[in-house]
């Protein structure tokens, strides 16, 4: 796919994913399935920006993974606090 088309497709996908994520904000409570879905969507959005808009898809692997790794670490941490709040509370109580 030509680079210009990739940029446009990425932008449209990002807007679409944002609208999908927002629809879950209207629900009264976040189920664990929704939480996983929203986190997966967020990782994918980050992946799209890093690879296609920042143009790191063909950059040296170390630099690309430093950026992608941020999402692959932060989003699971968010999920852990949603799935195991008691554990996090115990771990962080002085």
């Amino acid at each position: 796919m030509p680079k210009q088309k990739v940029i446009v497709t990425t932008w449209i996908t990002l807007v679409g994913l944002t609208l999908i994520s927002t629809s879950f904000a209207e629900s009264t409570e976040t189920s664990k399935t929704i939480a996983i879905f929203v986190c997966m969507v967020t990782i994918y959005k980050g992946w799209l920006v890093i690879n296609n808009l920042m143009g790191l898809r063909f950059a040296v692997r170390r630099l690309r993974w430093m950026m992608l790794g941020y999402f692959l670490i932060v989003m699971p941490i968010i999920l852990i606090t949603i799935f195991f709040p008691d554990g996090v509370r115990q771990l962080t109580t002085l």
């Binding site: 210009q4 944002t18 976040t30 808009l53 709040p85």
Partner: protein, 208 residues
């Protein structure tokens, strides 16, 4: 010592593509100092996220009720504006790599406009909050909400200043198809601002 360390980094294996898409070895896209800054900024945001999550684990009821009172429309609009601004700046970089100065300037101005729109929406959101009785001291969730979003707003303002500087330099023909490191670095910083918001939006507005 720091200077010598930074000087060794390009030889550390970073590469980039030139305007024809050819891989140029031993250089990094943008400036290595900007990558250090970007990771420092992202680490700062990560620290905020962790503190937010710890507070959420200790006050589940407060953090579960908080997002329901927020202006989700403003959050969604700001997300769309920021991903659109990332699209604009990507187009600006693509244009300068082809040597199209006028096209590049058009996309840079659109990026700046998107940044201003983000600030406008954020101002409306804070005013709306004030009218509905949401303040930074309402409860712990809103203290975090204001801390995170206002801190991000400051980064947007810094990014806008950088984009303005890059626009000025583009007007003075500083950048070309072969030399555009400064513009590319500013673009990477702007993308970082977008990336931080991509996490803030679900964390604060969506997940309960």
């Amino acid at each position: 010592m720091l200077t010598s360390l930074v000087q060794t980094l390009p030889r550390f294996g970073f590469k980039r593509s030139d305007s024809q898409g050819q891989t140029v070895a031993n250089t990094t896209p943008g400036n290595i100092a900007v990558w250090i800054l970007i990771y420092a900024e992202l680490s700062e945001f990560a620290l905020f996220f962790i503190v937010f999550l710890i507070a959420k684990a200790h006050h589940p009821d407060t953090f579960s009720a908080g997002p329901a009172r927020l202006n989700t429309l403003a959050g969604m609009l700001n997300t769309i504006v920021l991903v659109t601004s990332s699209y604009f700046i990507a187009k600006a970089v693509a244009a300068i790599k082809l040597g199209h100065k006028k096209t590049c300037l058009k996309w840079l101005y659109l990026t700046l406009f998107a940044g201003a729109t983000y600030c406008g929406i954020k101002g409306w959101e804070y005013t709306w909050n004030d009218a509905t009785g949401i303040h930074s001291r309402t409860d712990l969730f809103y203290s975090f909400y204001y801390y995170l979003t206002f801190n991000h707003l400051l980064h947007v303002l810094i990014g806008m200043s950088t984009i303005s500087w890059v626009i000025l330099r583009t007007h003075f023909n500083t950048y070309s198809a072969h030399e555009h490191e400064g513009l590319e670095s500013a673009a990477f910083y702007w993308h970082m601002i977008d990336l931080a918001w991509i996490i803030i939006f679900p964390l604060v507005y969506v997940l309960r």
